[in-house]
Symmetry: C2
Subunit: 470 residues, 2 copies
Amino acid sequence: MAKAPVLTPRADDFPRWYQDLINKAELADNGPVRGTMVIRPYGYALWERMQEEMGARIKAAGAQNAYFPLFIPQSYLTREAEHVEGFAPELAVVTHGGGKELDEPVVVRPTSETIINESFSKWVQSYRDLPLLINQWANVVRWEMRPRVFLRTTEFLWQEGHTAHATYEDARDYAAHIHQAVYADFMVNVLGIDVVLGRKTPRERFAGAINTLTLEGMMGDGKALQLGTSHELGTNFAKAFNTRYLSKDGKQELVWQTSWGTSTRMVGGLIMSHGDDNGLRVPPRLAAVQVVVMAIKGDEAVVKVREIGDRLRAAGLRVEVDVRTDTPFGRRAVDWELKGVPVRVEVGPRDLEAGTAMLARRIPGGKEPVRIDTLAALLPGLLEEDQATLLRQSRERRESRTADVTTIAEAAEAASAGGWARIPWAVLGQEGEAKLAEQSVSVRCLLAADGSVPPADDSPGAVAIVGRAY
Amino acid sequence: MAKAPVLTPRADDFPRWYQDLINKAELADNGPVRGTMVIRPYGYALWERMQEEMGARIKAAGAQNAYFPLFIPQSYLTREAEHVEGFAPELAVVTHGGGKELDEPVVVRPTSETIINESFSKWVQSYRDLPLLINQWANVVRWEMRPRVFLRTTEFLWQEGHTAHATYEDARDYAAHIHQAVYADFMVNVLGIDVVLGRKTPRERFAGAINTLTLEGMMGDGKALQLGTSHELGTNFAKAFNTRYLSKDGKQELVWQTSWGTSTRMVGGLIMSHGDDNGLRVPPRLAAVQVVVMAIKGDEAVVKVREIGDRLRAAGLRVEVDVRTDTPFGRRAVDWELKGVPVRVEVGPRDLEAGTAMLARRIPGGKEPVRIDTLAALLPGLLEEDQATLLRQSRERRESRTADVTTIAEAAEAASAGGWARIPWAVLGQEGEAKLAEQSVSVRCLLAADGSVPPADDSPGAVAIVGRAY
């Protein structure tokens, strides 16, 4: 089957390819208010799978879900100086409610540190109440000047964790635990993206944090995407909201806090990491649909694919059955390829007699006949192979497109050429960082000499990872 | 153990009891912006269980989840005349974004018919695209003048279903299917509330609908709570947004639509249906925590309750283990009672020797010793008994507090006395309905003579259910 060029090739125009893919795979549309998005069922199912996988890890880390209001009194944001400075330019402000002008305008939450601290300051009384570990799944709003679906949208969906601890050490360790055991574990083992775990420079830190840990993925065009962050907030918000606890020694002490978030931006990262010129490729462990069983034509094939679907579901696979035989088969096959479903099982009248089906694999590519009665035993192993392939490709891309350099000019050059540079932080420094920023190149994160997360901004031997970013 | 009066008794002051319970059971707090609420972890876990149970039923009804923007251009709402009239007084309006005044103000969604129709008008092209069955879990905002936590809040969480069909009949049947197979099934069999399923009068209909089906529950004070609605929208929004499809005959036809919603208000209904003077009573099928296994004191008891917890979890129960032995046992027991956990298993040093535990049941009340090794076999049956008890009590209340009357004065009297009245719709009529409204009494719904949902506003023999309502 000769393929029509359904998408702009990545090599021709990566941003256009990205937008084409989102439209054609029916992931999302632009909303009517600039910068907003409509997440379509297939795109939303990917997000729901992310929620499921992340949710289980967040729960295992001991955090409980709760829900805080969308509307925050404007005055709350101003209580923490760096925080308001960071968010003021992006706020959406409600000035009218119930047909009247409001006495005090309210802002639509850009993030919930302030309103959550208002609650924490009431809930935390004694050391017995600590650690307090809360997570929220919610929508947030940051007015975007240059919106791009999933990557930078005025409204997006996310989870935001907020915790309070008795000591600096406990807060620091918890932020690191989320970074590693929740975020990295999900991104590497489910999303299949070989993220780099590092520390943000003071320039790139979250507004109000004393330390920001980040996870950076290299996309198909060599640019970086920040896929999640975990912040140590120190006592900054605790001071602003007077969040204190009675210690075992009977003293009133400020709590130490963390916050951490990941968002629908991960859907963008999924697309730009694993997509190819034929569409999306969804890692099997994430996929809402791991296998689609297609009836090519004929009522018997329809009956058979329903039967196969049930059998594969019983084997624990996530399966969709496609019996739309009034739509041309080729069009449906292209559609499932665009949507990146890892495995297609195609059943036509001739296959029925032979007891076989065509097995088409999206990730390695190719098609071959298989005996229908072997599918349930065969597929789980193939899907795990595909999962490993995507992660390996992600790692190989990052490794082959990261250059070790020793000068700022070389670092800028590597970034311009569509890749990352590794440069000693002692060579670059905050001045070098500012210089790179003029060319839209940023320090994605700092790594310790052994590749781990550096314990301090000025850890000796630290290396900066430098690149362009979304 | 003599009990301190932890809550205002219901008989003294029902609204105060409701608020006390919400505070003491740690379900929710008021948010800083008037009418908003903070849903605390235990309250949010109830909502998550509702989402889980409802979500499975919505999926079984064929609807897919998606997500539409929070912000709607103000002009969209005005396109359907009745709809905007219904919602205009309650809108929150964003006038500033990104530090600038907006060219066109945007409203925060009070419901999503308009913005979803904007998408539907693009997605629906041919009869092959129908029925289009979409559900969204989201927050919505309606500015509330007299807020009350969970019942009427400026922001609340809900699901809203939106569907498009080729024919009137198909839309009508789908709205009825949701009413029955999703909403009633959940409310009766999981929430344990013996809801009445009926049809709204034209006066009480959703703004923009041609028919509204409702589920009404009687609360502990005899007032009604509308727990969910399913609307036939006819072609009202299809006309306003020009949502048309190419029929098999090659003609452009308007789609027929439905919308349907349930919200965090159900948490309020749960409290007011099943709560008693000692706190909440959560139906076991809903409960996020069905069983709490408590260590009274001592390290051995802590080890033992963890072991029991694991065994009960393995038996498929939702279990929490309470090993906070540094907090007085009595206080913890009162706390779990307030939270309405159906079963407490209490293990102290003496029980360990005997191989027994105290089993305290929240719903029938009472405590008795049981052999620890029988718990896993015993509890599922007890929980099902408790589930049935709550539903029976809900039904008995409704039956005993509903009066058959033949005059408008009697109907008003029954409502004032804290109950409902059943009155022939031919006797009451729209004029009588308006008269009752002056006394804050409303027609909750119309029933057909045989108790089913009447097919039309003027179905002969229809009966009106009348009462005060939240």
